[in-house]
Amino acid sequence: MDVSITVNGEQISREIEPRQLLVHFIRETPGLTGTHWGCDTSNCGACVVQMDGEPVKSCTILAAMCEGHEIRTVESLEVDGQLDPIQTGFHETHALQCGFCTPGMLMTARALLDENPNPSEQEIRTAISGGICRCTGYKNIVAAVRWAAEHEATAKQGV
């Protein structure tokens, strides 16, 4: 079947099998291997992207289901050479080691901050509880989200 899906603001049209999962549709698009996969049972969160602004597990969505929706992947965070504050936050607080869970965590965190610009530690931990990280023990990821929250707040104040 033919599908046409908006990914990072661009229409991608392709012929696919109905059974193709969104994660594979994305990863077969040139330049979009930043979305990863790590399990078979929707538990690990390595595949998280945003669908209409909400974090979703792209391994548990058919590409066909995404026509008419906006998909955003980690590659969309940097705009015109400017990193998103959440990306800078991860770098500042050493919130990544092997980097494999990072795109999923970034997209989850970005969606959290869009909805809740000043999340508490507990709210952050809850928001990222759908993702597994084996390397960082989560402490620095929480710190990264707080860093981004604080810097976005300051930026908004025009400081």
């Binding site: 999962l21 078979d40 929707s42 669908m51 974090p55 979703v56 969505i61 058919l62 008419g68 928001a127």
Partner: protein, 291 residues
């Protein structure tokens, strides 16, 4: 990654269209909504439908509204909306309790109440919730609608009253004065299935429990409806002793199986503890005593 077998796919544009398609394709067709129960099974090749009918465009099935003395929830309502609805939390806090511990926040963006109820996994929380609050389900087929009470909805493990060619469209919950509810769950880790979970609803008038609803997840082949506990509670004044007696009934009347989450005796014990806790909390809320 494990991948599903091939199938045909269509997008329903109306409820009638979805039903017609279900009838046309017979038992080889499955509805897909959130897909977070169905797709994992398909990837593991435990389910191999030939034809998928995607109902995610049927926005008319996603709502939470008050109609008369009922709250009506559309079958396509996502878990995240059940969690965030203040109206629902005000009348039926058991939903927010449960949603806080169903799967994880990302999965909750997609999964639906209809999908959860129709998956009919005994460990699924919303089935116990809906049973406790005396919900009724609305099932639509080619010949029209029928209303089936929760106690008749789950007929066996992974089996519901929804027949071939039918679609669950709505869940209706009666609103009676003096009531509140709670859900208690124990899991090995956040996001896991319950080792055991208990939902309780009580309606209190003049210091007496006029009615209650108590149901358990994960400790039987389907949701356990504790009618014996409801009998015990009816007409009595709430007390710690009463809740413990109800817990005792819960331990006796459930039928857990041993698995990786726990052995039978522990699950029975949990069923009791969580029933007591859920009743205690539901009562405190009903009496506006919860801090």
């Amino acid at each position: 990654m494990q991948t599903p077998a091939a199938f045909e796919y269509e997008r329903a544009t109306s409820v009638e269209g979805a039903i017609a398609s279900l009838r046309r394709h017979g038992s080889g067709a499955r509805i897909i909504a959130g897909g977070h129960s169905l797709l994992p099974m398909m990837k593991l090749r435990l389910a191999n439908p030939e034809h998928l009918i995607d109902i995610n465009d049927l926005a008319e099935l996603s709502y939470i509204r008050e109609e008369g003395s009922e709250i009506r929830i559309g079958a396509l309502t996502r878990h995240k909306d059940l969690l965030s609805s203040d109206r629902l939390a005000e009348h039926l806090p058991v939903f927010r309790d449960a949603e806080n511990v169903i799967a994880d926040p990302v999965v909750r963006n997609r999964g639906t109440i209809g999908g959860s109820l129709c998956q009919a996994d005994a460990a699924e929380d919303l089935s116990a919730v809906c049973t406790a609050v005396k919900a009724k389900t609305v099932i639509r087929g080619a010949d029209g609608e029928r209303v089936v009470g929760m106690e008749d909805f789950h007929v066996g493990p992974f089996m519901t009253a929804v027949a071939d060619g039918e679609l669950l469209t709505e869940v209706r919950i009666p609103l009676r004065p003096g009531g509140s509810s709670a859900h208690e769950k124990v899991e090995r880790r956040a996001g896991d299935w319950a080792i055991a979970a208990a939902s309780a609803a009580v309606w209190i008038d003049g210091g007496t429990i006029v009615e209650s609803g108590v149901a358990l997840s994960a400790v039987g082949l389907t949701t356990i409806h504790l009618s014996r506990a409801e009998e015990l509670l009816r007409g009595k004044g709430p007390s710690e002793q009463l809740f413990e007696q109800a817990g005792q009934i819960a331990s006796e009347d459930c039928s857990p199986t041993a698995d990786g989450r726990g052995p039978v005796d522990y699950k029975r014990h949990l069923a009791g503890v969580l029933t007591t806790r859920a009743l205690r909390r539901a009562t405190a809320r009903a009496l506006h005593q919860e801090v």
